[in-house]
Symmetry: C2
Subunit: 356 residues, 2 copies
């Protein structure tokens, strides 16, 4: 048995994934990561370790013309050869705004409806330790506070993402105090069985050693994406300091998930509901807070008033802190995308208007 | 009044530093940071905001020959011009082992004895947000777990450092659950009044605008030091992603100090004492733990058995985890500097022998 397959089944057990009877959807782009996951599952199925209904799901974003169609063709062929059922979705992605985020939203919507149609309780994605390390760095650079450093969780509710709380480099809400015990989560669950142990080189090697040519996504070379620059420039430099930097960052994110109390990690719904969030904040009160508490107070207030902290970075929170500490009145801080915070009559108020 | 001085007095108040009667020691190397701190205090004293006995303290490490002596001469002259008392120490630093760490230990010993001789309750050092950002990154790269990401604290007991728990890139123990309320700490306190707001450019500009030429330490250019490489290579790259990366990382460390519960942050003494640390760990028990808990369990056990986690990195903890999961018996993991962990009869034992 290949080491990749051994690691996969070990993690499968730890994540409390099912072994028989249930239906599991596996998101497959055709790249090395998702292909390795599918091949690993195929191996386990052949060895009778798994007796599940497995449905591969491919979403064609139609963003790269013929290349996208060739990916789809490749996944169709691979699924057929290995005897997997396949669901294919096609999308027209809005090119305005954050392209990566729009593509992701469309893809997750497709995965969600696929899971619902199939009454599948689990959707698996092939995020690796490399993805986790990249997410950690993107969040660190962006200044997303403590939450962001927890990175992606191995198990969460799939529909969380649809609420629009998640963007590239954004944070995932802690749903249950123990993310590894998904008893309190409602299906379909999004599970990432490679996240805590597989590196990109492991998935590539496993594909090669299985004799399967995986697809390359040319967008992974496009340096206009911050994530690509993190992967191609920042991580190689960090590797000079620590050859095991991927593992180190991924483990740090994992430790953070366990160590950060729910309240500051974005909070479980229960925690959030137990503290009423005021409509306006009194500046005098805010001025008595120490910097860290002030920062978290503003973040948490804004999150509720604005419904999400999407695209809100450290610089916006800092601008609001300056409002609080400056003497002049009537000033505002505009937030990216939509909304502004206004200082008036000794209070801060959030106004949900479109800012251009 | 210069903005630097306004920021200094604001932070002075927040850190509950004294305004009159007491004695305060200020560590002065002659570089921009410590000079700016001394000049800021001089300004406040001239304006009658402070009525303290201020003693500048300079430690000549004698590591850079004439350059070191010129630094000493410069500090002597500056202190005399500004009417500050001055304490000077000379050291012979052991060149074996970690030079930076040996130098730091000698310097802190000097500061401690100076404070004791003067019955001073406070020793101020001029660490800036840049130092905090560098420490954060060094700890992140090293994989020092959650503790390291809390970085330096603005207030702590000076003698903590003497216990040998702190090395470059190591972590500071959380002494009190609220590091900003030093009521439970015993003097002399080490206080860093620039840590939470001043950037290196602020100290350099304040020196220049005060018409004072600060000294340059040529060791700050020596790329054989990891910290210098972080400053000269890694931070400039991160700045391309986020121009305010120094502030972002420093604030992240600060938020971490407030958000990480004492138990995983290294623990207050009280918390640590309430949980007896076993002499040996049973491997069967360890095997039932999830990766994050296992990691923290090993770290915390080792910290107590070995008296410190100095130089212990992620790779050592991982090697111990492999001991736990491998079938072979009688294997050991050697730790850097001293000590090893031995697996025998289904248990892990720490042996405090010198390893070469």
């Amino acid at each position: 048995v290949h080491k990749f397959v051994l690691n996969l089944i070990t993690e499968w057990r730890k994540l409390a994934l099912p072994f028989a009877e249930d239906t599991v959807v596996v998101a497959v782009s055709g790249g090395a990561d998702s292909l390795a996951l599918l091949l690993g599952i195929d191996d386990l199925r052949t060895r009778k370790k798994l007796a599940l209904r497995i449905v591969a799901a491919h979403f064609n974003h139609k963003l790269r013309g013929r290349e996208s169609d060739a990916d789809e063709e490749f996944v169709k062929q691979t699924a057929a050869e290995r005897g997997f059922e396949l669901a294919v979705g096609h999308g027209t992605i809005e090119k305005s705004g954050n392209l990566e985020q729009n593509a992701r939203n469309a893809r997750y919507e497709f995965l969600h409806s696929t899971a619902q149609n199939l009454k599948a309780g689990w959707v698996l994605t092939a995020h690796t330790m490399n993805d986790q390390a990249e997410t950690f760095l993107l969040n660190l650079i962006r200044g997303s506070g403590i939450d962001g450093l927890s990175g992606m969780r191995p198990v969460r509710e799939l529909r969380e993402r649809e609420k629009g709380r998640k963007g590239d480099g954004e944070t995932e809400r802690s749903i249950s105090p123990s993310p590894l015990l998904p008893f309190s989560l409602s299906p379909p669950l999004l599970v990432r069985p490679l996240l805590r142990w597989a590196r990109r080189e492991d998935t590539e090697n496993f594909c090669r050693e299985s004799g399967v040519e995986f697809r390359y996504d040319t967008m992974n070379e496009d340096m206009s994406f911050k994530r690509v620059r993190v992967r191609k420039m920042l991580l190689p430099m960090l590797k000079e300091f620590n050859p095991k930097i991927i593992e180190t960052l991924a483990l740090t994110a994992e430790l953070m998930q366990k160590s950060v109390p729910p309240a500051s990690a974005g909070g479980t719904d229960a925690v959030e509901r137990s503290t009423p969030i005021p409509e306006e904040l009194t500046i005098k009160d805010l001025q008595t807070l120490d910097p860290g508490t002030l920062h978290e107070t503003i973040r948490s207030w804004l999150k509720h008033r604005r419904a999400s902290l999407r695209s809100v970075g450290l610089k916006h929170i800092e601008a609001i802190e300056q409002l609080i500490h400056s003497k002049k009145s009537g000033r505002t801080v505009e937030l990216p995308g939509s909304g502004l915070v206004r200082k008036q009559n000794g209070r801060l108020r959030f106004e949900n208007i479109k800012v251009d």
